[in-house]
């Protein structure tokens, strides 16, 4: 049996999978399946998703993170994904870039959150060279002091995934579905969503960002184009992903919890 080639010219091989308009839940299922059942490195670029969708991290609590009554009224889907991190609302204006890698793709890279985050910033530093004041600030990608992408990771024994949802554009009104998170980086300084984030379209054309990202990836990997069929394998047939859509009953229960919290806070004795 042939041993699969993992390196060429000293660089690890990576399968580049370019998608367009794939629903975010389908993308998350694909990522988790590749993380758990593939032995290859993957870079997935999904150019926009379908309808506006809220995506919470693995431990996200809807009652703390969302304006649930508005979410239910407007029938906004809410997903809990398999990676850590915060809450985003994604739509056609979002560009997704995901890396799924073997730990030994980069033997000098420790597979812990901070080193992986720093490694990823090297790629985007190259993307934005000469274009904007890019930096990695407290685990966020920023232009100046405005966040333009949400990052999250999942790390297994031998592989890791690092994925980003980039705000190339967004609907201002959609940010109204998200509460201010309890856990926030210091540099946010209690700014509301609209003062904290920025649109990438004000800095770089959409196709230019994707092309520059692929070029930057090519400086760390040897790229091979792949399609969805190539992402299937016998091992993946029985895999059950954990990212899922929250049911309406769960969101209604979250409203109840949210009201209970407010009632407790209101009735707590005031400090004298």
């Amino acid at each position: 049996m042939a041993v699969s080639q993992t390196r060429s010219m000293g660089l690890p091989l990576i399968n580049l999978l370019r998608l367009r308009g794939v629903p975010i839940l389908q993308q998350l299922h694909l990522e988790e399946r590749l993380l758990r059942t593939s032995y290859d490195n993957w870079c997935i670029i999904n150019d926009g998703t379908t309808k506006p969708t809220i995506v919470m991290g693995v431990s996200g609590k809807a009652e703390e993170l969302l304006e649930i009554e508005s979410v239910i009224r407007d029938e906004i889907p809410v997903i809990r994904r398999f990676t850590g991190g915060g809450t985003v609302i994604v739509d056609q204006g979002t560009i997704f870039v995901t890396f799924i890698c073997n730990k030994d793709a980069f033997p000098d890279l420790q597979s812990y959150p901070q080193p992986i985050m720093s490694w990823s910033s090297l790629i985007y530093k190259k993307v934005f060279q000469g274009i904007g004041d890019f930096s990695l600030r407290e685990n966020d990608y920023v232009l100046g002091n405005h966040k333009f992408g949400g990052n999250a990771q999942s790390i297994t024994k031998n592989r890791w995934v690092h994925h980003t949802s980039f705000l190339w554009d967004y609907q201002t009104s959609n940010m109204g579905y998200l509460k201010l998170p309890k856990r926030a980086p210091e540099y946010r300084q209690a700014r509301g969503h609209l003062d904290f984030i920025c649109r990438m379209k004000d800095h770089i054309p959409r196709s230019n960002f994707i092309d520059r990202t692929i070029d930057a990836v090519g400086s760390h990997f040897v790229l091979t184009s792949a399609d969805l069929e190539a992402s299937q394998s016998p091992l993946s047939l029985n895999f059950e992903p954990s990212s899922r859509l929250l049911k309406r009953e769960e969101l209604e229960e979250a409203i109840f919890k949210s009201r209970a919290r407010r009632a407790c806070a209101a009735s707590a004795p005031q400090a004298s």
Binding site: V58, S59, F82, G84, Q114, S154, I155
Partner: protein
Amino acid sequence: MASSLLWATRAASFLRISVPYRGFATVCKDLKYADSHEWVKVEGNSATIGITDHAQDHLGDVVYVELPEEGAEVTQGAGFGAVESVKATSDINSPVSGKVVEVNRELNDSPGLVNGSPYENGWIIKVEMKNVDELNCLMDPDQYSKFCEEEDAKH
């Protein structure tokens, strides 16, 4: 300075903790260790499992612990749960095979116990072991200390 170092040495000795030469993460003498940075304390057929000080230090503040169900089977080297820190979920792998008989429910409200007390109050699961011979695959404290030093030196 000298007296505080002596106090620290005596305290470490009392607590049966050895501190590696460069003063990195602590390692406990009574435990066995996996190369994925979990520890196991064996008492008869029972194993208590958690993640090491090295792991919690590198992961950052733990904000959530995904626990298995009591009664679930675990396999040596395979994942049974996860911790969340700094926007990442990281698998926790079992150093031994067996059945989960107890999970540390304190971690639901206080996940930070994994950071503050990785070898004591931050324990994660207790397992009824299937095969004690599996312990032979694990590292002793000195081997694990050296393993951590080598891993950190490489990066």
